[in-house]
Amino acid sequence: MDLASAKQIGAGLACVALVGAGIGIGNVFGSYLSGALRNPGAAASQTTNLLLGFALCEATGLFGLVIALIILFT
């Protein structure tokens, strides 16, 4: 296998990080919704934590994307 095709495959493999990000983001919003429906009074106070959890989670998937870009463009 030459280097160019190995790079393409590697970049594709790096995108597997998105699986984790997808599960994580689903978990964040799902848990928030189930908590918010049980106790709607406390829901508004937790939006900060919700957005924070979402952003931290999404970032892990994007690290994978960055690695893919590094592989492709170096």
């Binding site: 957005l51 952003a55 999404e58 970032a59 994007l62 994307l65 960055v66």
Partner: protein, 254 residues
Amino acid sequence: MAMNPMEQFTVKPLVPLHIGGYDVSFTNQSLWMCVVVAATLGFLIYAGASRKLVPTRAQSMAELGYEFVAGMIQSAAGDAGMRFFPFVFTLFMFVLLSNFFGLLPGSFTITSQIAVTFALAAVVILTVILVGFMRHGIGFLMLFVPKAPWYLLLLLIPIEVVSFLTRPISLSVRLFANMLAGHTMLKVFASFVIALGATAVTSAPYWSALSIAPMFLIVAITALELLVAFLQAYVFAILTCIYISEALYLHDHH
């Protein structure tokens, strides 16, 4: 028509300038930074020029931003954190306006450059370290020692140190990668429109009508990108607040 979705991120020199072997050209990056700073300053000065009890539209927008950031710092870092209001407000406005201006067609997204976001993150972390050492002296290092039995500390201290050291990286890469991914996605979908529309002059003229479909998708994605632009500025600012609050109170404040 071959198009490169990454082309929008190239830094092009507008006024070439070399001083002492260093390339300090005035680039499109610098131009849009000036635009963002000028827009922020212009808006806040205009909005604050005539302070009325019953605010005008511009004034209430500025007040909204002020109260939003003030509330964020108050909840994350308490009263002592309010001393850092100018710092956090500046960061928030700069990142927010950079993200929003980046969405204008034909503009340049400043925050899609890792150099810019890392510089911002480095300033944040250096501030945190300085504040921590000025407030607690050498006791600031207790930040790395959570309350736990000694045998767990052997494991926890290296984890805390590594997590502290990776903060500037995660803070900068989060913003940079979000902007990069979002804008690349927009351009990829935009190329679908052109590729489908181009079939009008080549093989299948009727198929070109389909190019309206990715067009609607772009509208939806642009709305999503507006949300992401705000959200990333918010997350950047709130994480700054949390880091500052850790430096101020170590582990005591919750």
